[in-house]
Subunit: 265 residues, 2 copies
């Protein structure tokens, strides 16, 4: 690779050399890398230079640093799959009900962590544009979705403040169903039940972003961690857009699967 030519910083060359040795199997998944002082001695550089090299490998998700313990080669992540049938007209792609990994026994529900009426921030203005309204008319509701023991996703919903029932404005989100029905507490289910307004998908989109300071704190991941973003607009049956949603999902631990066949997979 081009990063080998001299002229590249020393810490980058060290990072590539370590990555090579990982790829070559000298440090297999789970193995501990030499400690920082050891690497300092081997490469004859200052500890901060070694730390920059190792930090590069960590950002590349090649190693995992455990404070007080050591630096370890990452095993490939075990990912939860969320299966979806794209042939059905009404997709539930990414809905909270389906966000439970197959075989999970818990009963997760969405929980509201913030309600902000009149959100005129950057994303509030984006939402306003999608909905054809003023940002001041919209309320942003922020929720967390647990999967297993931790929160797997943070969602921001923008809805016209006038449509919102008082319970949602107060940040209350009653469990929508029982474990028997498989229905989890869900903001949109609560919205529909309280208002009678049924929402249909207009569009949904996938992209990827780096976790910002707020999302990193909410999800318990490092700043800059890759997040899978699913955003979109839903509306009334007559086509009037009502909702803009932007969900950020821990990226490397979860994936959305679209199945095109019935058999294996």
């Amino acid at each position: 690779m081009a990063s080998y030519r001299s002229g590249t910083p020393r810490y980058l060359r060290i990072a590539w050399r370590l990555q090579e040795r990982i790829d070559a199997g000298e440090f297999p998944p789970g193995a501990r890398l030499p400690s920082e002082p050891e690497l300092c001695a081997e490469f004859e550089v200052n500890r901060l230079t070694i730390r920059q090299a190792v930090a590069e490998l960590e950002r590349a998700a090649a190693v995992e640093i455990r404070r007080g313990v050591g630096t370890f080669v990452r095993r490939p992540p075990i990912r939860l799959s969320v299966a979806v049938d794209p042939r059905r007209q009404q997709l539930d792609l990414g809905s909270v009900q389906h966000a439970r990994p197959v075989g999970s026994t818990d009963h997760p529900g969405e929980r509201i962590v913030a309600v902000q009426p009149g959100d005129t921030g950057l994303w509030g203005r984006e939402a306003a544009q999608h909905l054809g309204r003023e940002a001041a008319e919209l309320t942003r509701i922020e929720t967390l979705i647990p999967v297993g023991a931790t929160d797997a996703a943070v969602s921001s919903y923008w809805l016209p403040t006038g449509l919102l029932p008082n319970e949602l404005l107060a940040g209350e989100l009653p469990a929508a169903g029982t474990a028997a029905t498989g229905e989890a507490g869900n903001l949109l289910v609560a919205f529909t039940r309280a208002t009678g307004i049924r929402l249909e998908y207009d569009w949904r989109a996938f992209s990827a972003v780096a976790a910002d300071l707020v999302d990193a704190e909410l999800l318990g991941v490092p700043v800059g961690a890759p997040l899978l973003v699913r955003e979109g607009v839903s509306g009334r049956a007559d086509g009037e857009p009502v909702l803009y949603v932007r969900r950020r999902i821990k990226g490397d631990a979860m994936r959305f699967v679209l199945r095109y066949r019935d058999h294996n997979g």
Copy 2:
């Protein structure tokens, strides 16, 4: 946020304070932050501490650092959209033909950058598992897909070596069509034309990862940048899996859109 309590490192508290001032509009999008020496004086810390704080904001995609010039508040990214109709039985979700943003005038094509028969690396073994074969039987073909002036995605295809025509093994990928037909040079089109084997989607999945050292270099993004991953298996009509593909797409500059209605958007 919890990051305000003392006990958090100084560089993190500084990062949050700067982020607050950005959010408050003191530094609007495009504005230059104070220089590192100025921030050192203001917060009365060493320059390295300031650099850590600013690096945190950069990883959070809040600022953009231009060497020799200054540090600037990021404008929200302008994203290319790739529209798809999820109601069609045969989705072309993410195919190269559709990866051209609407209105683009160029004629992009996939180009092969590496061919490795018998790939027994980590992903090679994953591919082997999906295809029900031995990793040694598979060949990995690595391609880049340009959109506009830069490469937007890197793809890895694993196919049984025995099925591959010589041209692909040699790394040659003829343009599949003309600008008039809208067909771009495409590995799978070339494969089907050379072998007569028609491939159908089995499944496709979306997730997000941090760019590793190799992908970062290929795509020209910093290590750790968020990449949208679209992976999946295709096979013969009788269901026999033939292909595992794993495509990494520059995450924050591009998105896949699924449309559920015909009208507005």
